[in-house]
Subunit: 252 residues, 2 copies
DNA sequence: CGGCACGTTGAAGTGACTCAATTCGCGTGG
DNA sequence: CCACGCGAATTGAGTCACTTCAACGTGCCG
């Protein structure tokens, strides 16, 4: 298998981190040097593996190197509600640095590579290089904007609208990160899981995806999302991508 | 009118800020002094007034002094989706410090008093006293936890469950802040607005609140929420308050 | 070939929506 | 003090979107 590339090195991991943060924050040379002093532990996660669990008190934070991770709530009834998806460069549980106890879990949607950074290391980085904190803080703020959209998507839109909206968001995020190829990107979700993202039953998700496919909007197949007609899809979705802050301008 | 108390002073405003942040972060004497050097502009907002609008690029951030503010999305169809409610001490649009363009609006649910703090002032505070940033950062992280709950509430629960969950969250937050009196707290929402929080039509909200009232769980009247049976209500709600991080321990 | 996970389909049920009418609470002006 | 008006709450009837459940198809891997 050509896929079976070598484990990324810690150096490559921090490089990805610097590039990701640099996308929305301007890092000074000093900031960048500070980030490059981190010693992440690179690790692998297999499909469906929990990386952190609701109730845990992690002493590391995770960065995605490759693959897709997801955060989810487990409700009293045992149901799962996915909260957000995370691609290369994301720091899905950075908040555990300051919130202590996890209010949700983090799992891998497909086989993924991750970097684990000790909280103590991040904290001492923040102490030594305070301006670097802004970049990480901003990252968590962009996260929150995606949560807000999640509320609106799952509360105000029709079945097809929710699925279409999810497709739009995921494709746009992948594209911004350079992880899309043409009009296609990874979306390793079964229909059951899509239901657990957008709050619909599997039957309804099935009918919604079919509708999007039949109307030549988008086609999900084998963990890959193919956009057929962006215009029509984003219309269906009521997609307004301001919240993803694609533009790099106007940031400090 | 006894209500017509004098405008709070800027000093009282920063005092509230320090107390609020001190609830979850331990502020050093230096941090505290830095916060007390801020010069907020105290202002009033009237019921239904927008304080910041979707698309704006504010150069100040808002702190709630009294009353209740709310953040909301306006969808393409013109519908409103409330995202979160904010009580005294909250900084509902702190994220505008780093995100530039607002992806949502902020409005007053009732007559409220607010403090406006210039971004430039906050930024220079962060530069001079980096450790103070942690406290503000943590505040935004707790915000995000509430958004996550919003997704799960509006995606997985029944009508009555959603309303009950909202009641539980709001009462608990008010209680933590010392804004509850006994089993009662402010909740200045019409049934229409409750629908715009939890993603239900007004008719369904009406039936759900009636059910909660008839089962002696909770009673909403004239902008005040009265908890009649906490046990039963939180059961209905599937309420798991970990995410509010009520406990002060275990934080740096 | 057999098993398994996932996708697809149909039919029946139901919770929530829409819409329109009615009632309630309350402040205002006669 | 009462009539009025207005916003909010309540109610009922009809409809619809989504759920549930059970069956069946399909592709893939051992």
């Amino acid at each position: 298998m050509a896929k079976h590339t070598a484990h990324p090195t810690p150096v490559q991991a921090v490089d990805l981190l610097v590039r990701t943060l640099g996308r929305h924050s301007t890092l000074s040379v000093r900031d960048e040097r500070a980030f490059r002093k981190l010693h992440p532990r690179v690790s692998a996660a297999t499909r469906d593996e929990d990386i952190v669990r609701q109730g845990d008190r992690p002493d590391v934070s995770v960065m995605v190197i490759s693959g897709t991770l997801a955060r989810y709530h487990t409700t009293g009834g045992g149901d799962r509600q996915y909260l957000s998806l995370h691609l290369a460069g994301d720091l899905p549980d950075l908040q555990s640095l300051f919130l202590g106890i996890m209010d949700h879990s983090l799992c891998a949607l497909n086989d993924a590579q991750i970097a684990l950074i000790r909280h103590t290391e991040i904290l001492s980085l923040l102490k030594r290089t305070p301006s670097a904190a802004i970049a990480l803080w901003r990252h968590t703020l962009m996260d929150a904007a995606i949560f807000r959209q999640g509320i609106t998507r799952n509360s105000t839109r029709s079945a097809a609208g929710r699925v279409a909206n999810l497709f739009c968001e995921q494709f746009t995020r992948a594209r911004i990160l350079g992880l899309a190829s043409g009009w296609s990107c990874a979306l390793p979700l079964s229909q059951t899981q899509i239901g657990q993202v957008v709050g619909l039953s599997i039957a309804t998700v099935n009918r919604a995806t079919q509708m999007l496919r039949n109307e030549n909007c988008a086609h999900l197949r084998a963990g890959r999302l193919n956009i057929l007609n962006w215009r029509r899809l984003s219309e269906q979705a009521g997609f307004e991508p301001v919240y993803l802050h694609e533009d790099l301008s106007g940031q400090s």
